[in-house]
């Protein structure tokens, strides 16, 4: 996977987030403050612009640029968290012009670690971690099993989607939704839902 793959991925994320903006906001309205869709749309629109303004040379540079842009433009909880996730991925990939599936897996693991270090959420807290962690595991497993890239990525995307759905019955222990106590149960976590969209876009990028 070269820089073009990652740029395509990020552009795909920008477009899917735009399409799903209202959906994400409505998820956030139910148990948060109704801004998650607007936040990510603002952020990834800026990412798309940044990629166009200063085209990156390497996968790592593309991801660090995306992460930094998110931190600088999103705000809220998701800005620093997603920003850190992309920056950690990028930093892990370093200057390499090409990225193997195994390297992608390691990078995604670093993203998860970054999110958890910053936000201190564990699986089951009803956050983006609930979508990201299973995706990381699925990708690592697929690499281990020697799966083809497309299949491995599909497995990660599937796991993220499944993880997001699984947040529905949970009671939140992190972020705004935690203020609702038991009333947070019965709603999908908006951040987990957006993580599933982001990883789903990886699949689309791979198939281009």
């Amino acid at each position: 996977m070269d820089v073009q793959f990652f740029v395509t991925w990020l552009e795909e994320v920008a477009s899917v987030v735009q399409t799903q903006r209202d959906h994400l906001t409505q998820l956030d309205a139910a148990i948060g403050d109704a801004d998650h869709g607007a936040n990510l749309d603002r952020g990834f629109t800026a990412v798309r612009q940044a990629l166009a303004d200063t085209p990156p040379d390497t996968p790592g540079a593309a991801l660090v640029l995306a992460g930094s842009t998110l931190i600088r433009r999103v705000g809220g909880a998701s800005g620093p968290l997603y920003g850190t996730a992309f920056r950690q991925m990028g930093k892990t990939l370093g200057d390499a012009p090409e990225v193997s599936l195994a390297e992608l897996s390691t990078a995604l693991d670093a993203a998860l670690a970054g999110v958890q270090k910053l936000g201190a959420a564990v699986e089951g807290d009803k956050t983006m971690v609930d979508a990201l962690a299973p995706a990381v595991r699925a990708l690592a497993g697929a690499v281990q099993d020697g799966a083809k890239p497309a299949d491995a990525i599909a497995a990660a995307a599937e796991a993220a989607a499944e993880g997001a759905r699984a947040t529905i019955p949970l009671q939140a222990r992190k972020g705004r939704a935690s203020y609702l106590g038991s009333r947070s149960a019965g709603h999908e976590d908006p951040g987990a839902a957006s993580t599933a969209l982001i990883l789903g876009a990886l699949r689309t990028a791979g198939s281009r």
Partner: protein, 330 residues
């Protein structure tokens, strides 16, 4: 949704343009969304920076000025600002004595202010952060993101701002800010939801005789839904929650705060009940604010914030302040 706006995406910058035009004592960087005192930093004075999502006006931009904040960073509606804003604001108000960040306890605000503080430190500006978490509706436990920062933010900004104006060092200013927070408690009640412009519809639906107890300031539902009742009963629920957490006694600083859509007439009705409750507990409302100060867009409802006064806090509260939304003594 019917709002007095030009465009969903330009709500915050349009409002900042108006703020700048209305208050010559402010310098507003509309593009970077930072509200400064026009006079700039005073050498040797600790700078005070706060910020958070927009939609809580006059908090924070309306509290920039002599005796209170040096700068405010408004984010998008209900979205905490980004580190860039805070870094720019922090550097812009540093008079060499360091800068206090007043941060309401929300994951987003905390994370973004943390990143900013770290980067400011790297650039040689001393930053101390104080967390405001006064809302007793949320239990501070492993199962939550901790208590929310609400009405006490105003108290912290006013009192720490007054101390900073005397030339007190950063450590002292932070100490008094923390003390105010520790002595403050809040509880909020919603009679209606609010409508975030970008969402276009109310964040929740309430029946004609339903209310939400234990709400924050972001349009989120509260801890429980309950039947609507007379002001007397709603105030009692709020005051009981506060009193249970930190028994009320002695001289109390009280804010009866409107959520944005509740008329002042009704807020005074609520304050009458708050005053009666305090007397019942042997406490007295020694200093009082009634009005819309820490709002939640167009939400109907109110919150009560109390702060157990000390001599020092009373003196600092009474000290002159000159901001768009709070002014006395000059």
């Amino acid at each position: 949704m019917k709002k007095l706006i030009n465009n969903v995406d330009s709500v915050v910058t349009d409002a900042l343009t108006g703020l700048a035009a209305a208050h010559p004592a402010l310098r507003v960087d509309v593009e970077n969304k930072i509200v400064f005192r026009a006079a700039g930093p005073r050498p040797g004075k600790v700078g005070l920076v706060s910020g958070g999502g927009s939609g809580h006006e006059p908090l924070h931009g309306g509290f920039v000025g002599y005796g209170m904040l040096d700068a405010a960073c408004p984010g998008e509606v209900f979205t905490s600002p980004v580190p860039d804003q805070m870094i720019e604001a922090t550097k812009g108000v540093d008079g060499g004595a360091g800068v206090l960040h007043i941060v309401k306890n929300y994951t987003g605000d905390v994370l973004n202010f943390e990143m900013a503080a770290e980067l400011c430190g790297d650039e040689g500006v001393e930053v101390v952060s104080v967390l405001v978490n006064d809302d007793v509706a949320v239990r501070d436990s492993l199962y939550t993101a901790g208590r929310r920062g609400t009405g006490a933010t105003l108290f912290v900004e006013k009192i720490a701002g007054a101390l900073a104006e005397t030339g007190a060092p950063l450590g002292e200013v932070a100490r008094v800010a923390r003390e105010v927070n520790e002595r403050s408690r809040s509880f909020g009640v919603a009679l209606s939801a609010c409508t975030v412009p970008a969402a276009g519809k109310p964040t929740f639906e309430l029946g004609e005789s339903e209310i939400e107890l234990g709400i924050g300031i972001h349009g989120e539902p509260g801890r429980t839904r309950a039947a609507h009742g007379p002001a007397r009963e709603l105030v009692r629920v709020a005051m009981d929650a506060i009193h249970e957490d930190l028994p009320l006694s002695g001289e109390v600083l009280v804010l009866v705060n409107g959520m944005g859509g509740t008329p002042l007439l009704e807020l005074y009705i609520a304050f009458a009940e708050v005053a009666a409750y305090l007397r019942e507990k042997g406490a007295s409302p020694a200093r009082v604010l009634v009005g819309n100060y820490v709002t939640s867009l167009d939400m109907q409802g109110f919150s009560v914030t109390t702060c157990a006064l000390t001599e020092e806090l009373t003196r600092l509260w009474d000290a002159p302040v000159e901001t768009p939304a709070l002014r006395w003594g000059r």
